[in-house]
């Protein structure tokens, strides 16, 4: 019974905090471009407006893909500990979270390409290549942390940052993780898969009303999973509220960076990720092996 309440709490925080923060980010981007920008609750309106329209569907695989995507991401979110609010105390292994997240990605990809529009296939191919790009440095830096603390459970990783944040202990790993976090979020410099001008918003080209709403929900939950992981691993011990504050800080930092950078070409993304971040990640792993940790 307790787990159900905890899972519900995690999901609701994901929903509300996620959407408000997205509205806040749109406000920040507007302010950077010296205009007013929409109210903070704009994303709520967008989601519910999209859900209320009656759109079109391309057959059962199209619907199944969306459901699998949303279901997968919700399942992943349930395993992510938000500060001290942990839905499944012992079972939140990092590999599970990363690979369960892949269920969501695969479901979305399969559904979108199921619509039959080549724009979505191109978009998905780009998304998967980008994933190949940012996943490797991220996993190395995170496994360096796991190797150092000798545990793969996220909540234990968080609790074992007694003396100082892992970000301070392993700065290189933290930077690499943040850069790949940008890639994961799909923010500006790395939003080649959803490039509106080139491939008509990539995978979402055939998403009409309800499906667009479900996908926006999935996007908010996935943001929550990605940044939640980063905060838990790198930014020290935090109870629920300090977790949310750190979450907002990281989110605003990411929006600031993303609002001023143009978009990468897809080859550049992979080349970028496999040059500097990969090098830094290997360096960090070497340092951990040699035991040079601050």
């Amino acid at each position: 019974m307790m787990t159900i309440i905890r899972v519900a709490a995690v999901l609701l925080t994901g929903f509300f905090v996620g959407l408000t923060l997205e509205g806040v980010s749109r406000k920040i981007i507007a302010r950077i471009q010296r205009r007013y920008g929409p109210p903070w609750y704009q994303n709520f309106i967008d989601v519910f407006k999209a859900l209320s329209k009656n759109g079109i569907t391309h057959g059962w695989i199209f619907d199944f893909g969306i459901l699998m995507a949303l279901g997968g991401v919700i399942a992943t979110l349930a395993f992510v500990p938000l500060g001290d609010l942990v839905a499944f105390p012992g079972l939140d292994n990092l590999f599970i979270i990363v690979y369960l997240f892949a269920v969501g990605a695969l479901g979305m990809a399969m559904g979108m390409v199921g619509s039959g529009n080549p724009n979505s296939s191109i978009g998905v191919a780009r998304a998967l290549t980008q994933m190949l790009g940012y996943e490797i440095p991220y996993m190395i830096s995170v496994s360096a942390v796991m190797y150092y603390y000798k545990t793969a459970s996220v909540s234990e990783l968080m609790l074992s940052q007694q003396d100082s944040w892992t970000l301070l202990k392993m700065p290189l790993g933290g930077i690499v993780a943040f850069i790949s976090l940008l890639g994961m979020l799909g923010k500006k410099p790395f939003d080649t898969p959803i490039a509106p001008a080139e491939i008509a918003s990539g995978p979402m080209v055939e998403l009409s009303a309800k499906y667009m709403g479900l996908l926006m929900l999935m996007h908010t939950f996935s943001i929550f999973v990605e940044i939640g992981l980063f905060v838990d691993i790198f930014l020290g011990i935090s109870n629920y509220w300090t977790f949310l504050i750190k979450f907002t800080v990281i989110w605003i930092l990411a929006t600031l960076i993303s609002s001023v950078l143009p978009r990468f070409r897809i080859e550049q993304v992979v080349k970028f990720y496999w040059k500097v971040p990969l090098g830094l990640a290997f360096l960090q792993a070497l340092f951990v092996l040699l035991g040079w940790v601050f």
Binding site: P38, P39, K49, G55, S201
Partner: protein, 180 residues
């Protein structure tokens, strides 16, 4: 147009729809140049919750910005039908009203709402962004009052619109000779 009876859900939905209108990035005529200034910092369309969307599947509003030749009209109708239900059309400038300066041309249409239902017209041979924002607010009010029912009309007297379209554009078997 009689004001259909709306239940509670539709009223809420109309409130939401008015607050977040997504426009389709599909500009047909010389009026398209008016949209960027209305989006950027001076006039900022986004504060009304309006933003550009790449595909008709996600868009709510379709702007017809300027003169419409027969061939472009055919594409506009095709895109209009691809948009999901509650959809609105705004006609920019006099060319959509009564053919404007091309009233006597053999290729451009003279009256837009003869072919697709138009919720709002903006007069002027390319209205300025202020007029645009005025029109957007006007449209939002209409949506909130439930008067912007162009898409319902299109659905109800669908064959009237279809006959008008056939009358002006005629049936064309799409067969481009260059890519056999």
């Amino acid at each position: 147009m009689a004001n259909h009876e709306r239940n509670i859900w539709e009223k809420i939905a109309d409130q939401l729809r008015s607050k977040s209108l997504w426009m389709l990035h599909y500009c047909t005529g010389c009026g398209a140049i008016e949209l960027p200034p209305s989006m950027t910092s001076r006039f900022d369309m986004e504060r009304f919750g309006m933003g550009p969307m790449a595909t008709p599947r996600q868009a709510d509003i379709l702007f017809i910005t300027g003169y419409l030749s027969a061939k472009t009209l055919r594409r506009v109708i095709y895109t209009y039908e691809q948009m999901p239900e509650p959809k609105y059309v705004i006609g920019f400038g006099s060319c959509t009203l009564n053919g404007g300066i091309y009233y006597d041309s053999y290729a451009t249409i003279n009256r837009l709402d003869y072919y697709i239902p138009v919720d709002l017209y903006i007069a002027g041979c390319m209205p300025r962004p202020e007029a645009l924002l005025e029109a957007f607010n006007e449209l939002m009010k209409m949506i909130r009052k439930g008067e912007a029912n162009g898409w319902k009309q299109y659905k109800e007297n669908y064959d009237w619109y279809k006959n008008n379209q056939i009358r002006s554009l005629g049936e064309v078997l799409v067969h481009d000779e260059f890519h056999e």
